[in-house]
Symmetry: C2
Subunit: 385 residues, 2 copies
């Protein structure tokens, strides 16, 4: 980012309710776009149904589920980030303002992000031997790992193919090519991040720096792409400063993604099951080397360090008393506060990048979507679910 | 394809040696481009090495292998098809003739095809529980299935990302976007074809039509893309008839791909181990429902049908005497000839499409690459390895 002070963007209150409302509203539109894409792209009935099962549209017998659209399939953070960045950039100094209210143009990209994300979830569940996701049996448990690998691969390919639709919605071929490359690049980073995450399970000396680098690939790269790509579609690239603004949107998404994942790590240990939908403390019992554990391994006394690293080098699930021991050590070195402060730092960096993305202070007062993006950064950092 | 008689393209002799020489020559250039791409795209050392192992560049300890470049990594049929189609189209009536000898421009696409193909091989080996490929232990046997899934995913993403390089080699953004979409579409078809192939193992009534539809997705779609995409890069799309010619190049690749796979099925049963590198008859012992078996199930006597379908509904490997029984039934209904005649038919269709792609008879006499493409169709139909 350029030298000098960025225009400060700070939220005065944490408007979590408001941003959750925005997420819900966009989720329904994105879900509808995803359904159209899957219908158009997948001629094979079984494949279409298996995708529908994973996305929460069908039950295990492939009959339609009557749950509220947009509820069962997660928060849809990536599409929301893309849509808000698109709207914010449209009203910005390099923006095509007339696009700000025309969501139909950005929906194929928003849907592509969510489809790509879901490919990774399907493969992650196989690799981690996870049997439950979003309260339902994971796809591989109902169709076997071989076919679940295929379903993931199909979603991966669809997510990159469906950007073709943007050409029919008035975008330049050059912008579509740039966006395709950005999404494919994020996907390369994702595969590398996931390989590192799995490798960490067997490594003793993973420090916070290496850990955050892994998260940058596995989670934050796609959020960077969401924010960059959404802004790209609404930006007139020929205006001076446009390229810098797009880079700043990308940085915003990257830091928001890091804050999101670190908060996820905190909730994985201290979150309540009724909020997160995951059994409380499951990250501990499964010996997941998430950021609080990595901090504890650094900050603990010698004795506590020996205990903790012994517990985390075992196979299988930890017992209840072993879990209690880990919790005591985490408490003794304030690992929750250490991790949360990292999330806060990433949120700060995200807001600073957003100032650069906005380009000038005037914009903030006239651009509600920038305010929504700042709220989103707050939300991911402080959420309880 | 349009009405009327296509310009006939027929080879007078099967110049297998010549086309094998062409394949070898291109393979070395494609291999070098692949190495550059993997080096540039993959910052993670382990991931780069695992890709290098699978591609035959490194041994299981990730030390360089001294084998001749371009030998250990398969025939590289897809890149060769792309390069020959590019060169043939460049000299054709809609072609940019000056591109015919500038292979550097088409190499990123040729490499992308081979990288995509190799992603599918890595995942296929996991799904089929195959322990050997090209005479070496498959990737998953040396790093486990979870990480091998990641390596495949990484190659999948790289193959779609590396097309970005075409923008730096003088191509229009619109052509790059069209090519990216074609490759991603082929990848969607591939995942669906692979899902059908696996599903057929458990289905009783797979006819030749359904089987060839599966092959069209799993194998022939990428070959269609290779021929279409190679030609696209060398074609001036604004000239009249260019779009029709590109479609015909795609059809050529599709039928060549069908001929290739059917010949593969024939070699899987009647090929010699010293030619194919696979244990003779392994397709029978593994109860693979390839085209000769499907024909036999249709053409066999009632008694033979009962025997054959009983043997093919078992689990595990067939015994030597069971294999002999299958061979007797295949022989009794001339399954080899039936299957080979299907390969010949696809070759005929490929050559007919090539006539349309060429556009006029003059071209053939002045365009050695069209002759090479016709030889390639002969080669895949009649090869013994």
């Amino acid at each position: 980012l350029p030298d000098g002070e960025p225009v400060g963007i700070r939220t005065t209150s944490v408007l979590v309710e408001n941003v959750e409302q925005v997420l819900r509203q966009y989720a329904a539109e994105v879900e509808a776009e995803m359904a159209t894409i899957v219908e158009d792209e997948v001629a094979d009935t079984w494949m279409r149904q298996a995708i529908g099962y994973h996305l929460g549209w069908l039950d295990a017998d492939f009959r339609p589920l009557n749950e509220e659209v947009g509820r069962s399939g997660g928060k849809k953070l990536r599409p929301a980030l893309a849509i808000l960045s698109y709207r914010a950039a449209a009203l910005g100094p390099h923006g095509r303002a007339w696009l700000a209210d025309d969501l139909s143009r950005v929906l194929p990209f928003a849907a592509a992000l969510e489809l790509l994300h879901n490919y990774t979830l399907i493969h992650d569940d196989i690799q981690d031997d996870d049997r439950t996701r979003r309260g339902r049996p994971t796809l591989w448990t109902i169709c076997g790992t071989a076919q679940a690998i295929n379903v993931g691969n199909c979603l991966h390919a669809i997510s990159l193919h469906c950007l073709e639709r943007l050409a029919n919605r008035g975008f330049d071929a050059a912008d579509v090519a740039r966006l395709s490359a950005a999404l494919a690049h994020a996907s390369v980073e994702l595969a590398i991040g996931q390989r590192r995450d799995l490798a960490f399970e067997n490594e003793q000396d993973v420090g916070p720096g290496v850990y955050l680098e892994m998260v940058a690939g596995k989670t934050a790269g796609l959020l960077r792409c969401a924010s960059y790509g959404g802004a790209l579609l609404a930006t007139d690239g020929s205006r001076p400063g446009a390229a810098k603004s797009l880079t700043a949107f990308g940085e915003f998404g990257m830091h928001l993604g890091l804050a999101f994942q670190i908060r996820d790590d905190v909730l994985g240990i201290w979150g309540a099951e009724e909020d997160t939908g995951k059994p409380s403390g499951s990250d501990i019992r499964r010996r997941k080397k998430s950021l609080p554990i990595i901090f504890a391994l650094q900050a603990a006394s010698e004795e506590a360090f020996e205990q903790l690293s012994a517990l985390y080098s075992l196979g299988g699930e930890l017992t209840t008393s072993e879990e209690a021991c880990v919790r005591r050590i985490l408490g003794s070195c304030a690992a929750a506060a250490l991790a949360q402060s990292q999330a806060e730092e990433q949120r700060e960096r995200a807001l600073s990048a957003l100032g650069w993305a906005a380009g000038n202070g005037e914009t903030l007062r006239t651009n509600p979507f920038l305010a929504n993006l700042a709220e989103l950064a707050d939300f991911v950092t402080h959420r309880s679910s």
